[in-house]
């Protein structure tokens, strides 16, 4: 590895000399004005963003604590070391940085690779966690920092980074490090918030990941925000329905699943969940109607097992029902 690095290093030295010879500066366009979304402020600085100076190698826990505490989560860099720090790598991996906020009742959302997204989130008042690479492709040096603002006129970003509470970066410098780092950026959301730059599919994925460990109330907030913003998305309704179901509100759940099915009648997951909710409402015959047309053999895991299981419970309920369904079932979906 060391020997192989020599050739690129020599090439690099050559480039450096060339750069010196070519020293007449090429004028480049400023970055921020060219990427500023319409209507966004020209200067933003999220001054209230907390600051945690990092200990050796531990920019991951420090940067993560910065965005988590900014979202009003209660944590510290020290508490995050056992959550995201990987001793043998002397650093923290993106996957774990992204998973960690869920342990604090927060959603994490990866931004698109466009500079516009970072600017949009900052303009909406949300600090952005970024991965920088200050090295080279064959000698990467990764670092997490938090962007807390920008100034379009001077084409600068403002960051909390390492031991610096406030550091200004020329946008071009920032872009070199961000681009080299794979243009990765994420924001932390409180349940109920959606990112300014959100894509509905990516947000719903983040919300679905959040659902697993979240309380029904938090999960409801996360999907309700999606229902309000993207009512055309069946997964938004399904997710809110499942939050209702987990809270024991079966009729609310049935209503949301039915809404998902009006948008996408082939959504078997929503249909299964609607059947389950109807069963829990004491309406097994109505539940059966939902699943009768479903071709179970054509389904894949884990949907197939879920539908079979629901079907089994419906059949058992029908077999043991001595009386006809209560009349209220007729008004259910």
């Amino acid at each position: 590895m060391k020997k192989r690095a020599a050739a690129p290093a020599a090439r690099f030295a050559f480039l450096l000399v060339s750069a010196g010879l070519l020293s007449a500066c090429v004028t480049r366009e400023p970055f921020i004005p060219a990427h500023l979304p319409a209507g966004a402020q020209h200067v933003v600085e999220l001054d209230a963003t907390p600051f945690f100076p990092q200990d050796k190698y531990q920019c991951g826990p420090a940067a993560l604590a910065t965005v988590l505490v900014a979202s009003k989560a209660d944590t510290t860099p020290d508490a995050l070391v056992p959550v995201v720090y990987l001793p043998a790598r002397k650093g923290s991996l993106q996957v774990e940085m992204q998973a960690a906020p869920r342990q604090f009742g927060r959603l994490s959302y990866s931004l698109s690779r466009k500079l516009e997204s970072i600017l949009e989130e900052l303009a909406a008042g949300r600090p952005v966690l970024v991965l920088h690479n200050y090295g080279l492709s064959f000698w990467p040096k990764w670092h997490y920092a938090v962007v807390i603002g920008y100034d379009a006129a001077s084409d600068k970003f403002i960051l909390r980074s390492g031991k610096k509470r406030r550091t200004e970066w020329r946008a071009r410098t920032f872009m070199v490090a961000w681009h080299n780092g794979g243009r990765w950026a994420m924001v932390v959301l409180r349940p109920g918030e959606t990112p300014a730059s959100a894509n509905p599919t990516l947000y719903l994925e983040a919300a679905a990941d959040f659902e697993r460990g979240a309380s029904p109330a938090d999960s409801r907030l996360a999907f309700d925000a999606a229902v309000q913003r993207w009512p055309e998305q069946p997964v938004a309704w399904t997710g809110r329905g499942t939050a209702e179901y987990r809270a024991g509100n079966y009729s609310g759940a049935a209503r949301d699943y039915a809404a998902a099915l009006r948008i996408d009648p082939n959504n078997i997951g929503a249909r299964n969940n609607l059947a389950q909710s109807l069963l829990d409402l004491g309406c097994p015959a109505r539940a059966l109607e939902q699943l009768q047309a479903v071709n179970i053999d054509a389904l894949g895991s884990p949907l197939k097992e879920a539908v079979l299981d629901t079907r089994k419970h419906i059949d058992a309920a029908i077999a043991s029902t001595l009386v006809i369904e209560p009349s209220r079932c007729a008004s259910q979906f």
Binding site: G91, L93, R172
Partner: protein, 126 residues
């Protein structure tokens, strides 16, 4: 890292066997998780067995890489199947944000100079 593939394999198989003791199947009574619906939408193929192998692999690698045993369990439990898969595949080489020491800063400054002077253009449209 230094374990033989056979040991990894045995660990994986055993873990699956042990995990299966406590599981009756992927789906339990009730509603389907939204995550499963999203995954179905994307036609991702995450079999239960593969997820369990990934989990065993991530657990073993975390311990090797110096994470406290108690923390390993919590960390592994907090990951979904896609995240487990990404980690299992690339924990040794995936970007790990750590320190920004001054030597690195020097290299970076050179890179910036090259960019500014137009010797290289890393933002070329791809």
């Amino acid at each position: 890292m230094k374990h033989s593939p056979w040991r990894k394999f045995a660990v994986g198989i055993l873990s699956v066997a042990i995990l299966n003791l406590g599981m009756t199947g992927a789906a339990s009574a009730g509603v389907v998780d939204t995550a499963d619906l999203v995954v179905t939408d994307r036609a991702a193929d995450m079999s239960v067995v593969r997820t369990q192998l990934d989990r065993a692999e991530v657990r073993a690698q975390m311990e090797e890489m110096g994470v406290d045993a108690a923390a390993v369990e919590r960390r592994v439990a907090s990951l979904n199947d896609r995240e487990l898969h990404r980690l299992a595949a690339d924990m040794q080489n995936a970007p790990a944000g750590g320190d920004a020491v001054w030597i690195v800063g020097a290299v970076f400054i050179v890179l910036i100079i090259l960019e500014l002077t137009g010797v290289i253009d890393i933002f070329k449209k791809t």
